[in-house]
Subunit: 151 residues, 2 copies
DNA sequence: AATTTTAGTTGACAAAGTCAACTTTATTAA
DNA sequence: TTAATAAAGTTGACTTTGTCAACTAAAATT
């Protein structure tokens, strides 16, 4: 297969997977949280404690936009912000119990969503799917070290 | 591996690939056309002649939103709309020469973008990447016949 | 010590997307 | 065959999402 055709194939996959992600994410959006908000909660949850600028570089988002979302999260009691001791410009973010609870709900909904997506697959097919996803991640990450790693 | 872990793996891939698509699409957005607009031009180009409702079901987008984009395309000379003979409610869309030219430009930019993404890969690795993408598409489409097929 | 950079906030704005009401034509069912 | 219903597309009003630049305060650099 020519390089041209391979690239056409990759673009075809990208369109397909955009649809898959759209499907998966839209059902998440039935909650009162946007995709960006869910992703931010995920980052704070997994890191356990991060600064806004960590999130900005991880998710490549606008700092003004993030600042407002974090303010909303704080007002509604999902996160607390603690001034860093090492750097007075920095606030360290962490989830409150309520924040963890909201995260759990979103996390579970997202889990169920994927669960449904693969519910018709035999075990072996699912294994293959996971393997291929892992391989794609590995190949693209190896060739593009700059792509945000480690999920 | 447990089912739970497999689903966690899939979600991890989804986050990763969201980043990949974000990267790829953002550079497209340096043009004066949005992702949605580019995708619409693509649909009209490949189908050669479609109705608005075809695009709506293919891309699952709001018909009001699409209507406005199409109006803009018509005003700026990218498409023409011809009343259908079979159904007077329907307008058939097709690209003008200028529309094809804009499409070509976007298409080429998108091609280059993917080209860069895989530029560091050896031929064999690229072959594997394409193969895995194809397999993922096949597996997911087989298990979810309703996912918008055929790209 | 002066300059530059970084973290975060805020205001103003633009782009993207949603929703419902409406018109016109087609389809379905009584 | 007409009455009700549905589908295609348009439009207005609106919300959400995201961007940009100016700003303050603290840290890093020269």
């Amino acid at each position: 297969m020519s390089l041209e055709k391979k690239i056409v194939q990759i673009r075809s996959f990208n369109r397909f997977y955009t649809d898959v992600l759209g499907l998966v994410n839209n059902n998440l959006l039935d909650s009162e949280y946007s995709l960006a908000e869910a992703r931010i909660l995920y980052e704070i949850f997994t890191a356990r404690t991060v600064s806004a600028s960590d999130i900005i570089s991880k998710l490549s988002m606008d700092k003004g936009y993030l600042s407002r979302i974090l303010k909303k999260f704080e007002r509604s009691g999902l996160i607390i912000r603690k001034a860093s001791k090492e750097d007075a410009r920095v606030y360290l973010l962490s989830l409150t119990d309520q924040g963890k609870s909201v995260f759990d709900t979103l996390n579970h909904a997202s889990y169920q969503q994927i669960s449904r997506l693969v519910s018709n697959m035999a075990e072996q097919q699912l294994d293959e799917l996971v393997k291929y996803m892992h391989e794609i991640t590995r190949l693209l990450q190896k060739a593009n070290k700059h792509i945000t790693g480690s999920h």
